[in-house]
Amino acid sequence: MPAKSRFFVTILSFLLPVLLWSLISYVPWLWHPKVEISDPGAVAYFKQGMLVDTELFDKETLKQEASGKALPEGRPANPIYLPAPHEVVVAFYTAFTTEPKRRSEKWLHESLWQSIQVIFWGFFLSSLVGVPLGILAGTYDFFSRLFEPFIEFFRYLPAPVFGALAVAILGIHEAPKIAIIFIGTFFQQVLIVSNTTRKLDPSLLEAAQTLGANNKALLLKVVIPGILPDLYRDLRILLGWAWTYLIVAELIGASSGITWFITQQARYKNFDNVFAAIMIIGIIGLTTDLILAALSKRIFPWQRNAAGA
């Protein structure tokens, strides 16, 4: 595909869902199962601004019509959990500028920063151990047989089941959350990295041996630089997975971070803020990935398609 149309289609892939959302929000006859009361008329329990089911509204209107009293008035509306795009756009700004309701609560940017730190430490600690183990298991049969069977078993255990245990051991603050992200990432990471290592062209190792490389040099000068671009791509994908564990992790112990913000806002029925926060997660994830992809072109100049998958 030519570069120009590729760009256009990329834009389109974001525009289509937004268009669908706009249609549902702004075209009254498409969905709108509720009525927002603008004038309660003679109905005693209707209040201005109240959202009622269309059926109920129609029933009350008929009832008032029959008794000849003032009719209620209202306009079709969507349920409160589906705010219109423009409301979410506004919330994007106001969510950052609105002061928390209680002094102990955090601003949105503070919550976000907390989440990013949890992700970073979870992923960093997992990679610190997981990548070397994966490379060892991928290079040496001995380590592969030593590590992989147990890891294969462990990776089927969903990380959240360790929530209660993590809290019991590590307390209620950041530590158990980092532990959940670690558990969620680590076991997959070892297996993926070991597979990537095994995919290295064996003839490169043979060539290095005929050039006099010993075992240590094979590992440090051939295996590691040889898998680096693929390893980098693996880590990019795994980082995406780490985000999915974040939400679970943050519900464990003392709820915190972006998840705390979302649940809190849902409790206040500020669904525009909820949507804004969800999208912020998406935007942070996508931006990080784009930055990492662009970086890989610079770090690995020998790769023809450094951007990769």
């Binding site: 043979e206 060539a207 290095a208 005929t210 050039l211 000068k221 690995f300 100049p301 020998w302």
Partner: protein
């Protein structure tokens, strides 16, 4: 009528060639293979890849190994390089038995096997650094070898920026940089197009003439073998055994015009006989195509003849 050329026998050598072989055999022995055998255990039983291989190469000799597919020529060169171990027998380099891979035997693979993350210069430096040379010395040496294969302009390029022929020249420079006693080449030009291959053969001959190196070269291309080799080791398949060690009667130094000389053609005829013997069994073994005429009788081109 088809004319079949009357060729001399490949055993006829003119005086210059005869004299050269006599002197060649006086040279010290570079590589000696003694009673080498290799068997593989497979699910279908034991397969004998190589059986009782014996031969010697002399210093600065160019030996080609040729044989039908499945004759174990790749296994042979991999054993010589130390990448596989023989079931029995031994390999002596300068009289000393070798075990495992080492920088005393350079290897050039068909698949280039350059390190894609290293520049041309760093690729050539790899072996030098492994054998403990300082970075400065390795770099200086590498530049000389790269210059020798004519790639000075590409010292800082990455392998993916080079053509197949250029990659293989880097691989040759990388193997030579270690100054090995023997250069093992496993169908190094097999993946190149015909024109590049001829150019590479000429380069290789130039390198061989000017550098103290013994070359053992595997190929399945008969012309390549005759054009390059002093002697050709012909293997036969199932099991891989030495069929003949042919002294190529084509005078040295070689040039492309010799490809049509009587000695060249005579040698080629002999190789054809050895490698593709007339096989009467093919039809019976079912190794034929079930060809039926699929052209209509009234087609505008009724027959291709």
């Amino acid at each position: 009528m088809t004319h079949i050329l009357e060729l001399p026998t490949y055993l006829d050598q003119d005086d210059a060639v005869k004299d050269r072989f006599a002197r060649l055999k006086q040279r010290p022995i570079a590589l000696e293979v003694k009673n080498l055998s290799k068997t593989f255990e497979t699910t279908g039983g034991t397969v004998t890849a190589l059986k009782d291989i014996n031969f010697k190469t002399h210093k600065r000799e160019f030996v080609c190994v040729i044989g039908p597919s499945g004759c174990g020529k790749s296994t042979l060169i991999r054993i010589l390089a130390g990448l596989e171990s023989p079931t029995s027998g031994e390999v002596l380099l300068d009289g000393k038995a070798v075990h495992g891979p080492g920088p005393d035997r350079g290897m050039v693979f068909q698949g280039y096997t350059l390190f894609p993350w290293l520049t041309v210069k760093r690729n050539v430096m790899f072996g030098l650094l492994q054998s403990g040379h300082s970075r400065e010395h390795a770099e200086e040496d590498a530049r000389q070898w790269i210059d020798l294969v004519g790639l000075t302009k590409f010292v800082d390029s990455y392998p993916h920026q080079l053509s197949g022929g250029m990659k293989q020249r880097v691989a040759i420079a990388r193997a030579l940089a270690n100054q090995p006693g023997i250069l093992l080449m496993d169908e190094p030009f097999g993946a190149l197009d015909a024109q590049t291959r001829i150019k590479m053969q000429t380069y290789l001959m130039d390198i061989w003439k000017n550098i103290d190196i013994t070359i053992l070269f595997i190929t399945h291309d008969l012309d390549e073998a005759i054009y390059l080799a002093d002697r050709i080791l012909v293997l036969k398949a199932h099991p891989g055994e030495v069929q003949e060690l042919i002294e190529v009667p084509v005078p040295q130094p070689r040039s492309p015009e010799q490809l049509l000389s009587p000695e060249f053609l005579a040698t080629k005829k002999r190789l054809e006989e050895l490698i593709h013997p007339p096989q009467e069994g093919d039809e019976i073994n079912g190794d034929h195509m079930n060809m039926v005429r699929m052209v209509p009788v009234d087609h505008e081109v009724e027959s291709v003849f």
